[in-house]
Subunit: 532 residues, 2 copies
């Protein structure tokens, strides 16, 4: 038994810092008492350092980090994140339940604990040409699985509101259902909530969060790479509501986690926005444990897992050392990740003739910096800054959609990626037809990845795990990303061009998008012709 | 669909009163919005009246009310208590799982929802000669029963601390376990908590509650007939801890519920002690629902059961009208209670000679007003105020224990009752041997009850349901209690003499008690001779 003495222990129940001593045995907290009150063989004097329970990420798509679950765990753990609740929505769109099973299996090798909410909306919409359809019947096998805590974000709001049979069957399977209803309010929100959808992580204003809290939803304050809502939602978090709010990262790349952090970054952001640290820590620990009924964590208390963090001294919140199951985390530890074979890419690429567009006025996808919605403008292929965009079916080789895009900033060369929400076909854009096709070929030949073709050179970050993730250690991936970003810079493209590109096939977001069938009107929710 | 418009709605998430309109359909809340924002066929204008969610009693032994579950529900419902979590510990000591099954079955007829925590300690101690032993194997059939939420108060603290196999087997059966560890603190408390025992309702000081809260336990603030702790614990309830505190009544008689209330009385008591009403209401609604994972209640929000109360105007908290499943509660409604046959009483009564005590110095049970602990004093049978006390085995006719008691105040006549914690044998005391035996006979012949014999007249309140409860409507029971209390007054006894008497066989409480085997030393935990 080891004693950690003279800790200034954060208690999320009282919301206070209490001078304490605590003991650890067999990976669990054994006792907590006043400083000097416990005796044992090995005593570590923490000399008054602040100690907090391990942090919990209430909702994340691990695939967005480009890492496998085990490697993701190794990355976030030194940031104090000891428990992760993941929704394997992306890989399920690629590989169905086989993808989900890979995530559950690989998560067992993670040094941080990873639980799952199984994806509710695969495909995201009937308009998506993905790799799989996951039905309620397919999900039934996950009920009672100890790694699975419920049903992941229910994005099919109309399906909920109009009582779609398949949606209802999925809702009926699980006792806990996460929500996804950006901007929903009033009676439609009431109807949505009444179906037992317990949480929401899509709030963008404090008013939206306050309404959803009042109606009984648990609110996850999200700080991801694309969507950053923590500061805006901070006014909704009070002493009263803190027990019903959590933090989530949703989507973060490997490099931004490494540079800015994970839930620790949420805490820093919230504190900067005016949230007392003691409230922010409640969200990041016990509140998330309570929502997911993880009664064995969230608090440094007897019988709970010995997951805790020692904080750096000073004003800014920063995790110094992390203990998982009572053991100090070695940042350089190696994780065993089994390399699994995913189905090969099956693509039919356009010929030179098929890359030609009609003359005259055409619809152009107009990107908006920092947003995933787009505008539709009418112009011609020769307009300044306008380039071709290509979306290639990777699952059945059934074809491709061709269009025009403006705003990526590509001056020369081309980009292609198999990370392309939510169906994850190959999406590409560039200055010349040849370079576009070369980039697509590089991605397809590698069984997935992100490619830049520029000045005759191809730079590839391979993503062999379903075209979404790599099996490599995160340090290597960060190096590869730097190389890729240098190549990207040579094209003149915006730094976030890959992220922008990856959302151009997301049919649920307005206004003009692209699928392997061609252009898609996100408002009318139907395919449209390119003629303007 | 009915609309309740212009309500001043208490929201336990925000802890605030919000002008609102809400609609009810099929017994559930459909929508909640701003006043005037909802439309429907039937609109009730609440004219700004305060509305709160239905109250929840987190822990009660229904048997102590003398009423069956269905009738108990009818009694507490007009007090705003729409959900009750009951531990059928008393009837299980009498009749084992048959007693538990009776409670579960009868509860289905209750107009208030009654859930159960199955009793963990039957018998309470090996020293108790009760009607049943309930093992872990016996309890296994309740796992997964939708009426059962977990394991009831684990009173066997030594059994927990020393890893008793049967105790461990019971703990392993259920995910949620209520605690009972009065005064436990420091490392023994840590050990107790580490076994997953999630709540405590035995705190008597704010410091004790604060320690248990810090260690992760949920604290029930109890206001029963015997133990009244709400005022003392009020300082432990803060904005931070309120989500982890609830109210409980534990043990209340039918007449005190009718006169003072149930959880509504807890709220009034807490507010008098300085707790803001908004915090007290959090405890009485959402906090209890959260602890028991009753996600369909605790809050007036879409999809949840339409259990709510309209409050009286004015400063004092008082429930005016109650709605259960959307329907107005009719106070005079009749409840269907099936009369069930319990095993007959099998007693062997002492003969005239066996009622004789030895001469010389004898041990006397000295009662302390308002307490259930006793002192042992040495004296003789002829001392002023000292009377005989008799405890008769009602299960096997194996005998009786005879002793002396002081402090009940009986001047003439005798009392007997089959409510006698926790084994519920017949216990009696009185001025003459003949009257004591007459009172015992009256109770035994009726198959249980409370009897007063005085001036040649026998007054009986029959308790045919296991000797603990009556099948009658609560109004009749209150009338009968008034008659019984008048008879009690004739004996000169203290008003609380029946309650005091009913705890004289409780072996877990120090110092001198009585069982059908004779006197019992609650400190040494063994039978003792009456010789002083």
């Amino acid at each position: 038994m080891r004693i950690f003495d003279n800790a200034l222990l954060y208690n999320p129940v009282s919301g206070t810092w209490i001078p304490s001593s605590f003991s650890v045995e067999n990976g669990k907290i054994k006792s907590v008492g006043a400083p000097g009150s416990l005796s044992g063989h090995l005593v570590f004097d923490l000399e008054g350092a602040r100690v907090i329970p391990g942090l919990i990420d209430a909702h994340v798509h691990i695939e967005s980090s480009l890492l496998t679950p085990a490697e993701f765990g190794r990355l976030v753990l030194p940031h104090g994140v000891t428990t992760v609740i993941a929704d394997p929505h992306e890989i399920a769109n690629v590989a169905g339940t086989a993808g989900i099973d890979f995530m559950l299996s690989d998560a067992k090798n993670s040094p941080a604990d990873i639980f799952f909410m199984v994806p509710s909306c695969v495909p995201a919409t009937p308009a998506d040409v993905g790799g799989a359809v996951v039905s309620a019947a397919d999900l039934a096998c996950y009920v009672g699985n100890p790694q699975v805590l419920g049903l992941g974000e229910m994005m099919n709001v109309p399906g909920v509101l109009f009582g779609d049979a398949e949606v209802s069957a999925k809702l009926a399977l699980f006792r806990r259902v996460d929500g996804h209803a950006p901007g929903l309010s009033g009676e439609p929100l009431c109807e949505y909530v009444s179906r037992g959808i317990a949480s929401d992580h899509e709030c963008t204003t404090a008013e939206e969060a306050e309404e959803k809290l009042r109606l009984g939803q648990i609110i996850f304050l999200r700080e991801g790479d694309a969507a950053k809502n923590v500061a805006a939602l901070t006014p909704a978090v009070t002493q009263a509501t803190a027990s019903r709010c959590c933090f989530a990262t949703d989507d973060r790349h490997v490099d931004s986690i490494a540079e800015e952090g994970s839930i620790d970054n949420c805490i820093r952001t919230a504190v900067s926005a005016g949230m007392p640290l003691e409230l922010a820590l409640r969200l990041a620990t016990l509140s998330a444990a309570e929502y997911y009924a993880l009664s064995d964590r969230g608090l440094i208390a007897p019988g709970r897992v010995a997951d805790f963090c020692i904080l750096e001294e000073g004003e800014t919140f920063s995790v110094s050392r992390v203990y998982k199951n009572g053991l100090a985390v070695q940042k350089k530890g190696i994780v065993e990740t089994a390399e699994v074979s995913f189905p090969p890419f099956v693509c039919r690429l356009p010929t030179e003739e098929e890359m030609q567009l009609p003359n005259g006025k055409l619809k152009i996808i107009e990107t908006i910096p920092g947003e995933i919605i787009t505008e539709c403008r009418i112009g011609s292929a020769g307009d300044s800054g306008v380039q071709k965009i290509l979306c290639v079916d990777r699952y059945r080789g059934e074809g491709f959609g061709l269009g025009l895009i403006n705003g990526l900033g590509i001056e020369r060369g081309a980009l292609a990626t198999s990370v392309s929400h939510d169906a994850h076909n190959i999406i590409a854009a560039g200055a010349t037809d040849a370079e576009i096709l070369q980039a697509v070929c590089a991605v397809a030949d590698a069984g997935g990845g992100m490619a830049v073709v520029c000045n005759g050179k191809t730079t590839l970050l391979p993503l062999p795990a379903g075209g979404l993730m790599t099996f490599k250690p995160y340090e290597d991936v960060i190096s590869e990303m730097h190389v890729l970003n240098e190549a990207l810079a040579e094209t003149g493209a915006d730094k976030k061009a890959f992220m922008s590109l990856s959302f151009m096939a997301l049919t649920v977001v307005p206004h003009l998008k692209i699928t392997p069938r061609g252009l898609f009107d996100g408002d009318a929710f139907c395919d449209v012709d390119i003629q303007g």
